[in-house]
């Protein structure tokens, strides 16, 4: 598992989540848990939680995956993205408690999604492949900043402090990374 590529891992996860969603398959859920929980724990700890809190948040995340799997629509986006947003939101809820501003991506909230046209589902798959390759092509100094935001949960000014660079540089590197990704999916957006 450790040596397989993200896309390979993603397609395995896709399949497991589909089994959880469609069949309430406990075995698939257990396997999903074994495969994904350690990575989520790593994520939670990078976000600054202690080991015990991290484990709690991982349990909550995967329980939410089990509970909401029936509402999850594969056509609206990838399961790994879905799990990421659940984990991120639970982490934010733990931090903020009172005011949940962060929404799940469209169609993955508590509302059932509208029917998606088959060609749109195709373009979502394609979108993921392209974003991934844009990420792989990012210059190291841009990737570093994107990672500090997503994985370590640092704000722009925290990143500036950590790397001892001006806030404006952090923002401009983020913009560059964004435009790189955006450029690769532009033609899919225009449809």
């Amino acid at each position: 598992m450790a040596t397989s590529s993200p896309s390979r891992q993603t397609s395995q996860l896709d399949e497991l989540i589909a089994r959880v969603a469609n069949g309430r398959d406990r075995e698939a859920f257990a396997e999903l848990f074994r495969s994904y929980a350690p990575r989520l724990k790593s994520y939670m700890m990078r976000q600054g939680t202690d080991s015990g809190t991290a484990e709690e948040l991982v349990q909550e995340t995967l329980l939410a995956v089990w509970r909401k799997a029936a509402l999850y629509s594969g056509e609206k986006g990838s399961p790994t993205t879905w799990i990421f947003t659940i984990a991120r939101n639970l982490r934010i809820d733990r931090l903020r408690r009172e005011v949940p501003w962060q929404a799940l991506p469209e169609g993955h909230d508590e509302t059932p999604s509208d029917d998606t046209a088959p060609d749109e589902a195709l373009s979502l798959d394609e979108r993921q492949t392209r974003v991934r390759s844009a990420m792989a092509d990012l210059p190291p100094e841009q990737l570093e900043i994107v990672r500090l935001a997503f994985v370590d949960g640092l704000s722009q000014s925290e990143i500036a402090d950590r790397l001892r660079i001006p806030l404006g540089t952090v923002k401009s590197r983020m913009r560059l990374a964004y435009h790189k990704m955006r450029g690769t999916v532009e033609d899919l957006n225009d449809r």
């Binding site: 891992q9 509970r67 984990a87 009172e98 935001a149 949960g153």
Partner: protein, 221 residues
């Protein structure tokens, strides 16, 4: 709604990462709820985030935590979720952005306002304990000059009704003005309708309360 002004991509990125400071995240959440373009961008950025997290080397789950919670399953789960959906469906006819409805209700004309300065009323919004910055709704009379940017830190404004204009153009419902610390501008509320906006600042409030600072900017005192 035709949206022209969007949040800066760097702020969309941090919103997707969950690392945008709370008041700014609130504005982005409200904008994203009405802007399909930014919703798509956030979804794109979430793909990137998910990839980074999926690529992390795992940390072993210990003891009891290493097993999935025991009480999963049962039709009750799905039932509970369906109940939530039914409740959420009831907010038709709202002109308040979805993320704010829980705090102020669905209608802008149902919001209670307090006097802030001549021609300016406000409705403060709660943030979590220890959150940096300030978040409030402002209702600005027609033709009023809005506060000049005070160089205190990032600020973001989303128009909820009416319009205003500044050096960057005209802002109408759904538009977001996203300003760096070094930008300067002095918006003027639409001479006919005035405007209602969601106003977030990160300005450090070491010497004065955010409210006192804001009043100072309106009154010049």
């Amino acid at each position: 709604m035709s949206i022209v002004h969007h949040p800066d991509p760097s702020n969309l990125m941090c919103y997707a990462a969950g690392s945008l400071p709370e008041p700014l995240a609130a504005v982005v959440a409200c904008h994203v709820s009405v802007c399909p373009e930014c919703r798509r961008d956030v979804a794109m950025l979430e793909i990137a985030g998910a990839d980074l997290v999926t690529s992390l080397a795992g940390v072993e789950m210990l003891g009891d935590a290493s097993r999935p919670v025991a009480n999963i399953g049962g039709s009750a789960d799905t039932y509970a979720v369906k109940q939530t959906m039914a409740v959420k469906k009831k907010t038709g006819g709202a002109d308040v952005p979805a993320p704010l409805i829980r705090l102020v209700g669905p209608r802008l004309d149902g919001i209670t306002w307090k006097y802030l300065a001549p021609g300016v009323r406000h409705h403060p919004l709660p943030l979590s304990k220890g959150a940096q910055g300030d978040l409030r709704l402002l209702k600005i009379a027609a033709g009023m000059q809005m506060p000049e940017h005070g160089h205190g830190g990032a600020e973001m404004t989303m128009l909820l009704a009416g319009a205003y204009s500044d050096a960057f153009g005209r802002f109408t419902t759904g538009d977001v003005s996203d300003l760096d610390t070094d930008s300067e501008h002095q918006p003027i509320a639409d001479p006919e309708e005035g405007c209602i906006c969601l106003f977030a600042t990160l300005a450090p409030s070491r010497y004065k309360s955010p409210l006192a600072k804001l009043m100072q900017r309106f009154t010049g005192i």
